[in-house]
């Protein structure tokens, strides 16, 4: 989230699209009801299904899954055409006025530089025209034909309301109502918040789905203000923390990049991360990259990381591919190239696409270790459960080692919520049986591995032998020790750079925050963005002061938020060019003539003059990007591409199947279905009664939503002769499931490009372990393909067929 959960109460308009907040985030959704009840805020829901969120909305519009970009580019077009633009914001705070290179062009769904063989672009033309001074060229009048604004206008021109209806199936009048409501928030004193989740992420154009709304929010002036923002609703209590501390294969903690093969030394690695400002006087905060990187290396390898050995740069593995995401990892496992797998706190045979492939892959392993509080399906993937897990146990030779772990309620530590708040918590109970904390298990594995390396040497023992492991009990690092390590400390006395007689931080003390980190090896920090969470003031994550001084829900002393306890990102943009708040009643900051003052930590240097320094300090331009340059693989502007399995051809360019740069593995291409064989557009989702595959182990949740079902319209049910509550078989090119039929008015057929499209909804909470009735998940059906940029699997749009059937045989 750019903002926080509590800030949603400040909004005038909530748009829930690409998510179902009431259903999947019912506790956080309370802030929407607050905004509605206390501010008269409106709620719009755009979704293929009339959801629980829609049930409390002011306006609902249907949309075919996988067409959100067409819808949102249509809204951008509407706003431009109808002058619903926050002009001062768009001109000054975005790159609308910057000039793009002559070589850049877009035709029929593709940008310049496309290589069909490689399924990739040469992105060199996707950039600004630089002047002789090295800065991007600019035309503040927006007259230049190649300024970002005019290219954007041209780019969105085809997405007329009629085109939106053709692609999305959203009736034109409903689309226009949504566009009108959204357009109102272009007034400087109006705010709209976007609440989205996996309904946008889990598409082959997932990153661009989110980006399109971010562009719209920028045009409306809704980023950095109270009640505005791009608010990703995280699906696990700590999934924000997972990405923050670098659990994705291509990242290290704090979103530093994992080096790649061709970056053979530190100089090369840092050379592409200099991030010199692209406009005069801009902050370009990533210029500090070396400070964060060196401090991380010092945290990891201590005294073994020296200036002479490039801060132990050679200790780091180098990626030979863009990322080892779950799809690539299971593709390798499927092909027999992975022998062992640690599965810590997740459940691949219900969570990853094309379950048949996942089961076959796990069967190729020599060993599988599962670490989980629950007896998961993955731990039992080898066990025959009739049609619910129809495997030949004898033929599976994988040795499965189940390590029972504690659950969150039995642990101390912090969880990072969607709003970037690190909230410390304490155990509420003792672990049952042999359950152990994950820290203990990981500690044991490390200590034993290190002993083996000490004894046997090995090809390159240095990173293991030199890994900092200075915990009081080497068998089990404690949560507070890990938190202090992430915060970072001074390794020698840190002197004030302007006055060498002054010591800023004495040796051994915690740094106050990342502004004190250095690139000369005198500081360490395990995760720079978390620096400040546990400093000499104590454990700031454990704070529980809910004082709300300005009455606007900032709560600066409630736990701690990254970065530097800032609650709203880009908050300098809440004020105009002179530094006066756009909306005085929702003030965050203002410029008092000498410095920025307000209730939140300014997202800009406190003395940076408002008319000189742009609010988007992480960007080299100082402004936000309507044109993304080469930052995304599939284009500097979003384009509507159909899902890989779509009921209709792409009306923009029927030759393009799916997103043209998405990585597809050959064996999976053969398993994509087509609408002649699989005519119905399916989607997957959560239900309020359950949390993933956990709560089916709980009798209360199991009683409230006991049995697997699929949802379909009354029209399709009639056509297929499927009775309410009857059994159906649903199958895709990859698998078949049996389910109860929930026949509902909440799903209606859509007309897309003249064709009737029926939608089938498939919730994801059932399996063959636990208290609820045995059932299936949508991943038995979903395709093994992901997003162009981050490879998140496309769970939200795929093709199936359906027929009535009989109940399962008694097991």
């Amino acid at each position: 989230m750019t903002n926080s959960w509590t800030d949603i109460r400040n909004t005038d308009l909530v748009i829930v699209m690409g998510g179902n907040a009431a259903e999947a985030h019912p506790c956080g959704f309370k802030w929407v009801t607050e905004a509605k009840a206390n501010r008269g805020a409106k709620l719009i829901v755009v979704d293929p299904r009339y959801t629980r969120t829609a049930s409390v909305s002011d306006f609902y519009a249907p949309i075919r899954q996988g067409t959100d970009i067409a819808f949102l580019l249509g809204v951008i077009r509407y706003c431009i055409e109808n002058n619903k633009v926050q002009w001062e914001y768009a001109k000054n705070f975005t790159n609308a006025a910057l000039i793009v290179k002559d070589a850049f062009a877009y035709h029929d769904g593709l940008f310049t530089g496309y290589d069909a063989e490689k399924r990739d672009y040469d992105r060199t033309s996707w950039d600004y025209e630089l002047g002789p001074d090295g800065f991007a060229q600019i035309d503040m009048t927006l007259q230049h034909p190649r300024c970002v604004w005019n290219l954007l206008k041209q780019h969105v021109d085809i997405y007329t309301p009629e085109m939106v209806e053709r692609i999305c199936g959203t009736p034109k009048e409903k689309f226009l109502t949504v566009a009108r409501m959204i357009g109102e928030s272009s007034a400087p004193d109006k705010a709209m918040t976007s609440m989205y989740a996996l309904g946008w992420t889990q598409h082959s154009s997932g990153s661009q789905n989110i980006r399109t709304m971010a562009m719209l929010q920028l045009i409306l002036g809704n980023i950095g203000i109270r009640g505005g923002g791009m608010n990703a609703l995280r699906g696990h209590s700590n999934i924000q923390g997972l990405t923050d501390v670098g659990l994705l294969s291509q990242y290290m903690p704090g979103y530093l990049n994992m080096p790649v093969e061709k970056e053979t030394n530190l100089k090369t690695y840092l050379s592409t991360r200099q991030f010199k400002p692209l406009r005069p006087g801009q902050t370009s905060y990533w210029q500090n990259y070396p400070k964060f990187f060196v401090s991380l290396q010092k945290a990891m390898f201590g005294a073994a990381a020296t200036a002479e050995n490039d801060w132990a740069y050679d200790y780091l593995p180098k990626l030979d591919v863009p990322a080892y995401d779950v799809l690539r990892t299971f593709e390798l496992m499927f092909n027999g190239k992975v022998n062992g797998y640690f599965c810590q706190g997740f459940n691949p045979i219900l969570a990853f696409p094309n379950r048949a492939k996942i089961t076959a892959s796990l069967s190729n392993l020599k060993w599988l270790v599962t670490m989980d509080p629950l007896d998961t399906e993955t731990s039992r993937f080898w066990q025959n459960h009739g049609e619910y897990n129809d495997v030949d146990t004898k033929s599976i030779q994988t040795e499965v080692i189940q390590l029972p772990t504690t659950c969150f309620a039995e642990e101390e530590g912090s969880l990072t919520n969607s709003g970037r708040w690190l909230q410390w918590h304490w155990p509420g109970g003792s672990p049952p049986g042999e359950a152990k904390h994950d820290n203990w298990i990981m500690g044991q594995i490390f200590v034993r591995l290190r002993a083996l390396y000490r004894k046997e040497g090995g090809a390159f023992p240095d990173p293991i032998l030199n890994l900092t492991w200075d915990y009081k009990d080497e068998n089990e690092p404690k949560p507070d020790e890990l938190a202090r390590e992430m915060n970072g400390r001074a390794l020698t006395d840190l002197h004030d750079p302007t006055d060498a007689t002054k010591i800023v931080v004495p040796a051994g003390k915690q740094v106050a925050n990342f502004s004190q980190l250095r690139d000369d090896g005198t500081t360490s920090s395990g995760c720079w963005i978390y620096s400040g969470c546990f400093n000499e003031a104590g454990n700031n994550m454990a704070r529980r002061d809910n004082t709300d001084a300005d009455g606007l829900g900032t709560y600066p002393n409630w736990t701690w938020s990254w970065p530097v306890n800032r609650r709203t990102l880009y908050n300098r943009a809440s004020a105009d060019l002179q530094g006066k708040p756009w909306d005085p009643s929702r003030k965050i900051l203002e410029w008092d003539g000498a410095k920025w003052i307000g209730s939140d930590v300014p997202d800009i240097a406190p003395t940076a003059k408002p008319e000189e320094v742009g609010p988007f300090i992480m960007n080299a331009e100082g402004s936000a990007r309507l044109f993304a340059r080469g930052m995304l693989r599939d284009g500097p502007f979003p384009v509507h591409y159909e899902p890989f399995e779509s009921p209709v051809a792409n009306v923009i360019n029927p030759e393009i199947r799916g997103n043209p740069v998405v990585r597809v593995f050959l064996d999976d291409v053969a398993q994509f279905g087509t609408p002649d064989e699989f005519p119905y557009a399916a989607t997957s989702y959560r239900l309020t009664e359950h949390f993933h595959f956990w709560t089916k182990h709980n009798r209360v949740n199991a009683a409230l939503q006991p049995e697997f079902f699929v949802e379909l319209s009354e029209e399709l049910a009639k056509e297929k002769n499927i009775p309410l509550g009857g059994w159906v078989r649903v199958w895709s090119k990859r698998g078949s499931i049996r389910a109860k039929a929930v026949v509902t008015k909440r799903i209606r057929p859509l007309i897309c490009n003249g064709k009737t499209v029926h939608i089938i909804g498939i919730p994801l909470h059932w399996g063959f372990m636990g208290e609820a009735k045995k059932g299936f998940g949508p991943n038995s059906l979903t395709p093994f393909v992901g997003d162009a940029n981050i490879d998140t699997p496309e769970y939200k749009a795929f093709l199936v067929n359906i027929e009535p059937t009989s109940g399962p045989a008694e097991v």
Binding site: A22, R52, S55, V700, N701, A702, A703
Partner: protein, 321 residues
């Protein structure tokens, strides 16, 4: 010390709180004609369920199960979101889902109503109950079942205009929402209100809840719900569980919420309930051992009571479980 919490979302009191709801606060007791008038009147409380804020998450059902330590069965899916499929002796509250197409706008509205005991000012269950002290009403408005006095006859089910109580097949006693009388007695709100993430369920004094509802109704009217209103039906003297409805002119669209609930005329005119039980006991041979204590008491039933009771019970309470 306040006699009831002002809001269900306030944190529970940490100081010791003396049980504030006792036999002396009863204003009505089933099959008891000579109940002494209470020495004091507690402030009337109410639970307000704002249907327009409800997201149907079933947190209320979950909290109800946890607080009352019940164990509803893991049933089948029968094609709808409602589970269990009805109120049961193990499930005192239930989200009922209705898909209603508004004929004026042709838009679908998914109406989700939390069903359960309404705690009527004029409780049909209590009037119908032939077992002395099995159903009691306190001056704060809570209607509670006292299970050790219940004989499982099922008259309360017939007497209830909202079809709420359910008879357990295990212990042959009637069960329903208590409005968390045990929590209210020590200054807390009901478990469901505590758990509700959107504050669609709020709890406090009845006067405060009516005032709160007025604000909600104004908001709904501003959003085009011209007939938004409070459901506090006069036919049962008003209730201590009330709804804010977007379409208060047609309560029945909310999965059959009665438009104008009234106590059955049979119950209203049935004079003999205080004398009672033999008839019900006879229809419950299976419960004989449970009822032994009742048989030991001098029970006599007048012939006219027999006849009225038979009309009242109709098909027999077993059908209701």
């Amino acid at each position: 010390m306040p006699d009831s919490p002002t809001t269900a979302v306030s944190n529970p009191p940490v100081q010791e709180f003396v049980n504030n709801l006792g036999a002396s606060d009863m204003i009505s007791r089933s099959a008891t004609g000579d109940l002494p008038p209470p020495a004091r009147r507690l402030t009337e409380v109410a639970k307000l369920i704002d249907v327009s804020k409800c997201i149907g998450c079933k947190a209320c059902q979950s909290a109800c199960i946890e607080w009352n330590d019940t164990s509803p069965a893991i049933e089948d899916n029968v094609g709808i979101y409602m589970n269990p499929h009805d109120l049961t002796p193990e499930m005192f509250t239930l989200m009922r889902f209705s898909e209603w197409v508004n004929p004026e706008t042709d838009n679908l509205e998914w109406l989700i109503r939390k069903d359960g005991c309404m705690h009527c000012t004029d409780p049909g269950c209590l009037k119908a109950c032939p077992a002395p002290g099995a159903i009691v009403q306190y001056s704060n408005g809570i209607v509670d079942f006292v299970h050790e006095n219940c004989i499982g006859c099922g008259y309360c089910v017939k007497g209830c205009p909202f079809n709420i109580p359910r008879i357990s097949k295990t212990d042959h006693r009637a069960y329903k929402c208590t409005l968390c009388s045990d929590r209210v007695a020590v200054g807390q709100g009901p478990a469901c209100a505590k758990a509700c993430p959107t504050q669609a369920i709020v709890f406090g004094t009845k006067a405060d809840m009516i005032k709160h509802a007025e604000g909600r109704i104004t908001d709904l009217k501003s959003r085009g719900y011209a007939n938004a209103g409070l459901y506090d039906p006069p036919g049962v003297g008003g209730t201590h569980v009330m709804y804010v409805l977007h379409h208060a002119d047609k309560p029945h669209i909310y999965d059959g919420l009665p438009d104008n609930p009234k106590i059955s005329a049979v119950v209203q005119t049935w004079k003999g309930v205080t004398k009672y039980v033999g008839l019900a006991a006879m229809s419950f041979a299976a419960a004989a051992s449970v009822l032994h204590g009742v048989f030991a008491k001098p029970n006599r039933v007048a012939p006219e009571d027999d006849a009225n009771a038979e009309r009242l019970v109709g098909g027999g309470p077993e059908e209701r479980t």
